[in-house]
């Protein structure tokens, strides 16, 4: 029997600086239920959940547990009421072990020997929900999926009956998503209630019982997932039909742009993360690198763009050696970069939106003259980006950290694609984007391809890979297990290639 049988949010409104983010929202969840929250980027999903978790105070409206009004002033209070939240960006201490992190967040941790007393509880929990995790490992040694499980254990151990998951799957591999879902199913049986935010409609229809759709801060619809489908949800959300499959035209590839020749790269843990990889990439071509996260993709992208050094090997852009050159030098050769960890690398959170619109481009003549930044131009540029990419921001003067996750991503994408780069290195470009923005971005990438850019696309989303790419390489443990044309029939074994259980001899036609 759970403490919370029914949770309601009644008439919740919240605005920031006079701009409403949530308007008269009503929703409820019951024990044993998974509620999906759906909505375009900036619709107000995270804000609403932050209110429930006590991070923001609503301007008006009530939160009710089992019919009784409560007020939640801060996360500590919401935890004590039985509400837990896993944010998209995890909040764990990297140099501490799993068990230490759990003890740190546990409300009844004793002062002495905290680990000993907690260990038993944690072990019982992991059995119940089938968590598999080594409690002595340090956080930095864990994959994103494992870190998320630690966050979930933390919430459950604190007695969370309601678990809020804000875009939990965008950092997970398909395997990890399946594991997460089985944990959620177990929790459901147990009487927990879950609020699940995602942009992936397949996931919503798979795991949720009901779904509520937000648009511009208002509820525009509810549905039972049993009697709706992906298309209808998308229409409810965007207000028009969304094309899920785009057809790319055949284009002859042009001159060679990027040559990667027998490159070896060290990872953060001192292991060889990329081993002897070679490939080339041409104008008018999208080259996909598929693989389970953590198999060397990040290191490879960082080395090509100059953030990380290669141990050996050579990287050329149109026959110019750029190996281990500075990020600015490489940018000036025409390489732009959508980083995997967008919050960590892609923005300076406290600066204005327009400042962030020229990150890495501020030294170009068009944005600075002698020592001065040409702010009028910068602002015009920022306005254009906001308009083209439909970034939901009230003004370009706002601090970029006030934007919703997806809108930050849109700004970065706009910034990196606006200059017709010779080579675009894009890691998971559609992470966190809503269906409309995803559609727009994919078209944008195909446009770039038509106009002569070469695109190196890292993605775990196989659908995306097949839809966009001309050629696909599969990476496993720092090595390519195959490079194939996207229409090669042998790609039906891509699962085995990604798992490293199969290899196709590589013949990269130079």
């Amino acid at each position: 029997m759970k403490k919370i049988q029914r949770l309601e949010m009644v008439d919740i409104s919240k605005s920031f600086h006079g701009i409403p983010a949530n308007k008269n929202i009503n929703l409820h969840v019951e024990s044993g239920e998974v509620l999906g929250l759906l909505g375009e980027n900036g619709a107000g999903k995270t804000t609403l959940m932050n209110i429930l978790y006590g991070l923001y105070q609503p301007d008006s409206g009530d939160i009710r547990i089992n019919g009784k009004n409560i007020r939640i002033h801060n996360p500590l209070e919401s935890i004590s009421h039985g509400i837990g939240m896993v944010h998209q960006h995890f909040m764990l201490v990297q140099n501490h072990s799993v068990i230490e992190n759990i003890a740190l967040g546990y409300k009844d941790t004793p002062f002495f020997f905290p680990k000993v007393s907690i260990r038993k509880k944690v072990e019982a929990f992991s059995k119940e929900f089938n968590f598999s995790i080594d409690f002595e490992k340090k956080i930095w040694q864990l994959s994103a999926g494992e870190q998320q499980r630690v966050e979930i254990i933390k919430a459950l151990l604190n007695g969370a009956d309601v678990l809020i998951l804000d875009e939990p799957t965008s950092v997970l591999t398909p395997q990890e998503i399946a594991e997460l879902f089985s944990i959620l199913e177990a929790m459901k049986k147990n009487g927990h209630m879950i609020i699940f935010i995602s942009h992936k409609l397949d996931e919503i229809t798979q795991i949720c019982d009901r779904v509520t759709v937000l648009k511009k801060g208002e509820i525009v619809g509810h549905a039972d997932t049993s009697d709706t489908d992906k298309k209808a949800l998308a229409r409810m959300m965007v207000g028009r039909d969304v094309i899920f499959n785009i057809n790319k035209e055949k284009i002859e590839r042009g001159k060679k742009v990027l040559t990667v020749d027998r490159v070896n790269i060290l990872g953060d843990k001192g292991n060889m993360a990329v081993k002897d990889i070679s490939f080339s990439l041409y104008r008018n071509e999208i080259f996909g690198i598929a693989g389970v996260a953590g198999n060397g993709q990040r290191e490879l992208a960082e080395t090509i763009t100059g953030i990380r050094e290669a141990e050996s090997g050579e990287i050329l852009i149109s026959d110019k050696d750029i190996t281990n050159k500075s990020p600015r030098h490489i940018y000036d050769e025409g390489v732009s970069h959508v980083p995997e960890e967008r919050i960590r690398f892609g923005i300076a959170p406290g600066l204005h939106l327009y400042d962030n619109a020229i990150l890495k481009q501020h030294h170009l003549d068009k944005f600075s003259k002698r020592m001065f930044i040409r702010y009028p131009r910068v602002k015009d540029h920022a306005k254009a980006l906001v308009k083209d990419f439909k970034v939901a921001a009230h003004t370009i003067n706002t601090e970029i950290k006030n934007l919703s996750g997806g809108n930050i991503q849109k700004l970065i994408l706009g910034r990196e694609t606006s200059d017709q780069p010779a080579l675009l290195v894009a890691s998971h470009p559609t992470y966190g984007l809503d269906v409309g923005a995803t559609e727009y971005l994919r078209k944008q990438l195909l446009d770039l391809r038509r106009q002569g850019s070469a695109i190196l696309l890292f993605s775990e989303d196989l659908e995306e890979i097949f839809e966009l790419c001309d050629r696909v390489a599969v990476i496993f443990d720092g090595e390519f297990t195959g490079i194939l044309d996207a229409d090669d029939p042998r790609l039906c074994d891509i699962g085995m290639l990604m798992a490293g259980t199969k290899r196709i001899d590589i013949q990269d036609t130079p």
Binding site: H73, F345, I347, A348, P349, L351, K360, M371, F372
Partner: protein
């Protein structure tokens, strides 16, 4: 009773100003308590402080005199702190400026007219302070040595180095065996506003620096890079910003401005190179508070510099008139800093105390 902490999500400029004023007021209240414990009437003491510094022409002139180094160093620190480079070494950078400029003044001064030697001394002072600032910048970026510890320690090294000079090789013949160099030649001594100790060349330099720094931070490429690095070093790396170059430049500026302050104190007030403690009464540290109160905006540092100079002067005044110990000024300053930082916390968080029992208990 229950204490409750909630984040605030609307912070306006007005609120932030109100928070500053209220924390200063609360700080003065706390200081009153200290005065009371020392059996001094706090209202009298505090009004003495402000009438001593702003209430009379003499006091006000003294206040401006002391504001000069505070504005120079404080505005330089706003730049360093924006890039999250915690320069605690302005004291040493000031002294280095004094050392460099006194060498020029003593050795070249006798042969040159004032309008040549004074600019030369300021140049030397800037270079001295800048060099002393660049050392921790290189150590931090190249060898990951913590800049707080490094800049702090360099203060002591510089003070000892200066002392070594004035008791050893640079000891003046006219000092009758006491430590200190000879007096500067007439041409190397900074002109004063008549009837005061305000060395106007440095004052103008301080005001101009604050304005130029404001432009530098908000309008230039370098300022942009410094702000990006301060906001998020990883983004700085991604954006191709050269950390070594950026840190060296900003510490050269921050240190150089402290060096200017050193020139002003040495050639405007003392007229020779004496003991470190007499050259600077902790301006390098007080300026940290000045930069903080200015919300890291160099233009505001002009006002916060004058404010804290007033406290220094007023503190000296009550020390004499009320017979309080010499540490009084430091206590006043320290207390105000603590309250300003607390004020910042209350600006960002809302704290409510609830006395009645909660209706819905958390079980």
């Amino acid at each position: 009773m229950k204490i409750r902490i909630t984040d605030r999500d609307h912070i306006t400029g007005l609120r932030s100003l109100a928070a500053n004023i209220m924390s200063l007021a609360a700080g003065l209240l706390a200081i009153s308590l200290i005065f009371l414990l020392n059996k001094v009437n706090p209202i009298f003491a505090i009004s003495e402080i402000f009438s001593g510094s702003f209430g009379s022409m003499y006091g006000f002139k003294e206040t401006i005199t002391k504001a000069i180094p505070l504005i120079l160093i404080g505005s330089g620190l706003t730049l360093a702190f924006r890039a999250k480079f915690w320069n605690i070494g302005a004291e040493g950078q000031l002294l280095m400026g004094a050392v460099f400029s006194s060498w020029i003044g003593l050795n070249i001064g006798p042969h040159l007219p004032s309008y040549l030697i004074v600019p030369l001394m300021f140049l030397a002072g800037f270079i001295g302070g800048a060099l002393w600032g660049i050392i921790p910048a290189i150590l931090k970026i190249r060898y990951s040595i913590n800049e707080v510890i490094c800049t702090l320690m360099l203060n002591y090294i510089c003070a000892e180095f200066l002392t070594m000079l004035i008791v050893g090789p640079w000891k003046g013949k006219t000092r009758f065996g006491f430590p200190g160099t000879d007096n500067l030649p007439e041409s190397a001594i900074l002109g004063l506003i008549p009837g005061s100790r305000i060395h106007y060349a440095t004052l103008i330099l301080a005001l101009v620096s604050a304005v130029i720094l404001t432009i530098l931070i908000y309008k230039t490429r370098f300022g942009y890079e410094a702000r990006v690095v301060g906001e998020n070093p990883d983004a700085g790396k991604y954006a191709g910003i050269d950390f070594l170059k950026t840190s060296m430049i900003l510490m050269a500026i921050s240190g150089g401005l402290a060096g200017f302050a050193g020139v002003g104190e040495m050639a405007g007030i003392h007229k020779y190179l004496g003991y470190p403690a007499s050259l600077s009464s902790g301006y390098g540290f007080t300026a940290i508070i000045v930069a903080w109160l200015a919300k890291l905006n160099p233009l505001y540092a002009i006002f916060s510099g004058i404010f804290f100079a007033g406290i220094l002067v007023g503190g000296d005044a009550i020390q004499i008139s009320l017979g309080l110990p010499a540490a009084t000024v430091e206590i006043v300053n320290g207390t105000l800093l603590v309250f300003l930082i607390m004020g910042d916390y209350f600006l960002k968080h809302k704290v409510t105390i609830q006395f009645s029992k909660q209706t819905q208990g958390a079980s």
